[in-house]
């Protein structure tokens, strides 16, 4: 149990990368990129957890109650926003690909190689 969340993180990362590498559809690739980033959420939040501690919001509980790490939660929040931004931009690319060239297959979009 002590290592399990980190193993899950590695698995999600691997699965996401596998998806990107074997994909023939741009939207699928973009979603696999989201999966890759989700592994970092698991890692960050897993690193900051403290067994038996409360959430770091001291509105109802006294200030010195043991709480989990709030810093990784803030980092994860930043992470989520970054991911949303990058995904939106990539999806805009995908829309252009479909509109202009009628295809969402990355292999058919190749113009430059070698």
């Amino acid at each position: 149990m002590q290592f399990f969340p980190f193993a899950v993180m590695a698995w999600i990362l691997a699965v996401g990368l596998y998806g990107i590498v074997t994909s023939r559809h741009l939207v699928h690739q973009i979603v696999c990129l989201i999966v890759v980033q989700s592994s970092t959420y698991v890692l960050l939040l897993g690193v900051g957890y403290r067994r038996g501690a409360a959430a770091p919001y001291f509105y109802d509980i006294p200030v010195h109650t043991p709480a989990v790490d709030p810093v990784v939660q803030a980092l994860a929040l930043t992470d989520v926003v970054v991911e949303a931004a990058v995904t939106a931009l990539l999806l805009a690319f995908a829309i252009q690909a479909q509109k202009r060239f009628g295809t969402l297959d990355p292999q058919e979009l190749v113009q430059f190689k070698g």
Partner: protein, 253 residues
């Protein structure tokens, strides 16, 4: 590489990569055993220093506020990027928009969806506003509130009123509102600079009671700007994507 070869090459590489990663992860303290000290120190001092009981928001908007400026501008830049990539290109013209009965890719809206969406618009805006204004008290904040506010706009589209949605969120205005939000956040920091304080120093009065809506100084103000910016950015992105799908057609040669 052929797809089959690529798969095998990747699996070989991934095996090595996974082994390497897992080997390193075993060096971490076990799950549930966070050693500190960063989080512990902030938990101890945040409420006293900032009068905010929502410590995560205090970190986002004060202790690590500079990170949040950068992140906000990432979202702003992405929204601008989406508008750039999808801008009105040569050779396209907008199909004359007809409300309610758009045939391509959009089935006519059912009355049930329409009713529920319209009814929910008001409460969703209220919840979004509540979240954006209570960053310093509870698990909420500018980002969460902004996203919920954007959802309110999207509900209007779901109710089948795409033209209304477009009319109340034209690209230029939304762009400007997002810029005001992002710029406002950066400007709050600059105001501190102008007062001879470090950038993003909390210079507003901290209020009397921790966790009250009017407490925590610049945290509440920054959260407000962030809420505006996030709402505008998401409305811009969604509206651009919808416009491309529903209205824009390639001009036939």
């Amino acid at each position: 590489m052929t797809p089959a070869a690529r798969r095998w090459v990747f699996l070989a590489g991934a095996a090595g990569f996974a082994a390497f990663l897992l080997w390193g992860l075993t060096g971490l303290p076990g799950f549930g055993g966070y050693p500190g000290p960063y989080g512990d120190i902030i938990n101890r001092v945040a409420v006293a220093q900032t009068n905010a009981t929502g410590v995560v928001s205090a970190i986002n908007f004060e202790y690590r506020g500079f990170d949040t400026v950068g992140e906000e501008f990432i979202l702003f830049t992405a929204a601008i990027g989406v508008a750039t990539v999808l801008r009105h290109l040569r050779g396209e013209r907008e199909r004359a928009a007809r409300d309610g009965a758009m045939d391509r890719d959009a089935p006519p809206v059912s009355e049930a969806v329409r009713l529920v969406s319209l009814v929910l618009v008001g409460p969703v805006f209220l919840v979004g506003w509540y979240l954006a204004s209570h960053a310093q008290t509870s698990p909420s904040g500018g980002f969460q509130g902004g996203v919920v506010l954007a959802t309110g706009f999207v509900l209007i589209y779901l109710a089948g009123e795409f033209l209304v949605f477009k009319r109340i969120s034209p690209v230029d205005i939304t762009d400007a509102v997002g810029a005001v939000g992002a710029g406002g956040f950066a400007a709050v920091g600059v105001t501190a600079l102008a007062m001879g304080l470090p950038y993003l120093f909390n210079f507003l009065p901290l209020g009397s009671a921790p966790g009250a809506v009017s407490s925590s100084g610049t945290i509440a103000l920054i959260s407000f700007f962030v809420g505006i910016e996030v709402a505008a950015a998401f409305v811009l992105i969604v509206s651009e994507l919808l416009e491309q799908t529903l209205l824009v057609r390639q001009e036939r040669p």
